[in-house]
Symmetry: C2
Subunit: 591 residues, 2 copies
């Protein structure tokens, strides 16, 4: 039976030693004092490790069931969901006027990591609600906000995102779901949506579906797509629940993982919907949800890697097998623990250096979102827009690889469902796919984000890395971080240069290297995070040696990342610079 320990200490370290949030002038950050965030994180840690994590295996084994249109969630989910609601966790970073606590996004993200790590399938019920509520908050009319947000912020009602249809996923221009305008200003929606997470269940009184559909007579393709609010139960003027709307769950999908979440085929049969935002501008409104969701999915990559790592580490310390070749470490036992073996350590260090680096990366990204929204910082907005596909794509690809490595530490026992390691891997797998498959993230990064605002944001990123290196190059102990980071950043710039010089003539020259570029970028980002953490830990060691073991471990883990993981940038650059020809040489028929 796997366990989960909330990484409250490490989260506190990133928030305070590295990001120094309470010293920031971003509105709302002043109250993020260490004692306050510690209290929040400890409370969330207790709930996630004691209540939610134990339901993870239950959710996997039982899954959801559909009978006569009713979806049953696994045993214990309803109780746990009630506890989450009662604790006010669902509206942590939502506006107070709708019942939220108006905390910064960075704190919501720190808490969110724990929820995802403890039970990804369970946490999706509230996660999608949060995304849907954000879209209503940004694009809804006052009446829509007043009607839906208080209930969604508290998760009394949950939310969903309805994009995909059987014949179209990424290419939403092919969409067939129709929304016929009615005399009263509402619409009647008809069509089928698939892969709808949390699409149907009875843990909430109502479910608010956000649905993309086409209004007949509108523009062709993606430009004719609008976004609608379609409640499971119609809402009366007094806010009470009215009739059942014409939307039903036709089928539950059998999936590789996240069995505890109901992945539904949703059938819309003349369902009443309300336009959210402007006609034919549905994609813009949807992207409010998508961008938030993408960062949340990147976080899932980190979260599954962390819980898998925690269990692999415990196993490696406990399981006795073989002897340390440099000398027996456990003379009283029949063998030494796995952790003495260099290749086991390599796997653990890969995981540890990824998890801690990714945690800093996500929280740094969340702080950019706060800057963008709370301080209306346009540069921060541009930078997080650039980073979003890297956070989603890189952290979920690597996060999955790390769950696989954690499973590998268990040997044959990792392949048996009982150990729980298989579930971590199977659950982590979806994060590479949903909210835009990682190839689509890479395309977004290289095809759109790099050149956004004239390439201003990527230049700002390079400048930031350069400044970090300049500021720290003579700081004692920082050479181990500055030199590799410089080299990796040079690889990244060379890749960007290659795209600029070749992508105009032949877009495929850039696109053939898009996935490698996303990974190259991700490594540089984690390299920078390790540089920042090294700086913070060196300073902490100077200021107060009482927690030296923690900071020494940070430095050692960071040096591991710089020497063993960062050299991947050169490989990605070599692939990128080989251009489109090797990738595109074969005609489709010649495969």
């Amino acid at each position: 039976m796997p366990s989960y320990t909330a990484p409250t200490k490490d989260l506190q370290y990133v928030l305070h030693d590295v990001l120094r949030v309470s010293q920031s002038d971003v509105p709302g950050y002043a109250e993020l004092e260490p004692d306050f965030t510690s209290a929040v994180l400890e409370e969330a840690g207790k709930l996630t490790s004691e209540v939610i994590a134990p339901l993870n295996a239950v959710g996997d084994a039982e899954g959801c069931t559909l009978e006569n249109g009713v979806v049953r969630v696994p045993t214990g989910f309803q109780d746990a969901f009630d506890q989450v609601r009662e604790g006010g966790w669902t509206g942590l970073d939502m506006p107070e006027e709708y019942g939220g606590q108006n905390m910064p996004y960075v704190l919501g993200t720190a808490v969110g990591e724990m929820f995802s790590a403890a039970n990804q399938a369970f946490t999706m019920y509230q996660g999608l609600t949060h995304g849907a509520a954000s879209a209503i908050l940004t694009h809804g009319s006052d009446q829509q906000k007043d009607t839906f947000l208080p209930k969604m912020v508290s998760c009394q009602w949950t939310g969903t995102m309805n994009l995909t249809e059987p014949h179209c996923g990424t290419d939403l221009g092919l969409m067939r779901t129709k929304a016929e305008p009615q005399d009263d200003g509402s619409y009647k929606l008809s069509g089928q949506k698939i892969f709808i997470s949390s699409g149907e269940h009875e843990m909430a009184e109502n479910i608010i579906h956000l649905v993309l559909a086409k209004i007949p007579g509108g523009p062709e393709g993606i430009k004719g797509v609008s976004l609608f609010i379609v409640p499971k139960f119609l809402v009366k003027e007094d806010g009470g629940l009215g009739d059942r709307n014409g939307v039903t769950c036709g089928k539950l999908e059998e999936k590789m993982g996240i069995h505890g979440n109901s992945t539904c085929v949703m059938d819309y049969d003349g369902a009443t919907g309300y336009l959210l935002g402007e006609e034919h501008k549905g994609m813009r409104a949807m992207f409010t949800m998508m961008n938030e969701a993408r960062i949340g999915v990147g976080m899932q990559g980190l979260a599954q890697a962390d819980v898998a790592y925690q269990n692999a580490l415990a196993y490696a310390k406990d399981r006795l097998q073989g002897r340390d070749v440099t000398g027996v470490k456990n003379p009283d036992g029949p063998a030494d623990p796995l952790i003495v073996h260099p290749d086991v350590r390599r796997m653990l260090m890969d995981q540890k250096s990824f998890v801690e680096g990714a945690r800093a990366f996500i929280l740094w990204g969340a702080s950019l979102i706060d800057k963008a929204h709370r301080a209306e910082d346009k540069d921060a907005d541009g930078l997080i827009s650039l980073m979003t596909p890297v956070i989603k794509g890189f952290l979920t690809d690597e996060g999955f690889d790390m769950t696989i490595q954690a499973q590998q530490v268990f040997g044959g026992h990792g392949y048996i469902e009982e150990s729980g390691m298989s579930q971590f891997a199977r659950d982590a797998r979806i994060a590479m796919i949903y909210e835009g498959a990682n190839g689509v993230q890479a395309l977004d990064l290289v095809g759109r984000k790099l050149a956004q605002d004239g390439g201003k944001h990527v230049m700002a990123y390079f400048e930031m890395v350069k400044n970090f290196c300049t500021e720290n190059k003579d700081v004692e102990g920082m050479a181990d971080f500055v030199e590799p980071l410089k080299k990796a950043s040079k690889d990244l710039q060379a890749a960007g240069m290659y795209f600029m010089q070749n992508g105009m003539k032949n877009p495929n020259a850039a696109l053939a290297g898009s996935s490698d570029f996303m990974h190259l970028f991700g490594h540089v980002c984690l390299g920078l995070m390790w540089g920042m953490m090294a700086r913070a830990s060196l300073k902490a060691l100077e200021d107060d040696p009482s927690d030296a073991a923690f900071h020494e471990a940070k430095l050692a883990t960071g040096r591991y990342y710089m020497t063993r993981r960062l050299p991947a940038t050169a490989m990605h650059l070599a692939r990128i610079e080989s251009g489109a020809d090797p990738v595109m040489a074969l005609d489709a028929e010649a495969f």
Copy 2:
């Protein structure tokens, strides 16, 4: 519903254009004429794609069940197993005197790939029998051979390997299963074995368990382990079946994949066993099975990658989504097929260049085994001994990554069990673990095989690569292959040099890089294979242009491997040369 097409043409290409088997003077190879091997491969292809592959999803969905000690296999398995037996496929490369067909191992391997690709879980029933029969063939007495081999070669009786116990996997010295000598020369075995593939079922009349156990009073640890033959039903002197032996299946494991194979906890309760080989020399006898099994498992990595690739390719050609950025390719359709997109092609080319390279590698390895056994070539024996961990570890790690990529091509549909892509990934996952987890393979490679016979075999390998490069450097069209191969081989030699210079002082300096070394070696091996294939295809294009499209595609695929995959060697070298310090810096308590 996924499908499988046997790669008979590509197998023929490797056997005849690349390895030129029928021109070899290895005994038995003269009869491997193209027409003959074609007939065998076509027949096996029909059976695997039409009968065995359709049962793959059935096996996954139904799994095996245990009731009152009886294991039921999935629907259709018994019929298919009968067809496999009746076709004589189980004894293809076994001696004629025991009912086999005495074909070279290389042909058995070509056929074996198809079986594994079509249905890995199903094929394990005969695969483990083959391994057990090989051990009896090599180490058994004449009486043992006469008693067991005819039935095992035909799979009238199946076989198993019993190594692992709950507290010991890799470290078999910790074993507790006991074998008490009896007056009649037999032994009574007591203990528990776990993870026993095909451990119990009713598809065969009898099951012959090969079991490692300790004879009381023997040497401590691994030196006191002996191997025993323990039949499910005792065999009477007339060869008929006698009493049920004291061995039962106590539990079936719930696993991530290979559900169609019964993975059993086997309880030995005073079961009658017969010593196979010498007392306390059980590991030697077991390694006869293990080495064969390891190559077979490497093949599984390739096989799952191939079937997953085939389905990804079909999907990429069929699924319409988005438009080619360089110009519409399917103007009459609502969108272009996925395969127009560079990042989709990257994934497909990764898979294709791996699968075809790995196929050549495996068959080349099998031809070394034939040279070693049939021509008693000691150098070939040393070389395949060196290659075995590379074949097992590299091909299963990469093979799994490729099934994950194939699944990725399907987007959300790949995560739904219905598409079958999840099963390929879940089944492929075990190959990285069983028959020695890949970390153990890397340890075997770096800790034992490199230095075997004074390092003679690795030097011979370097010499072979060097000769290939020298012979082909001026051949038109070969520069694209020779130059990258030279560079990669230099990285491999530098890594070997690093180990020599540092491993003596500190074994961890070598072991910390063992997994990277295995991957570096694997890439060089596939690079060499692509060099050999390029040479063969260039020659074929000269000799007979009638099949130009096939050979041009080979060359393009090979160039992809050389430019996009081989640059990984530099990254592995950089990691290796960073030594033990980053890996071993943290005390176990500091994690």
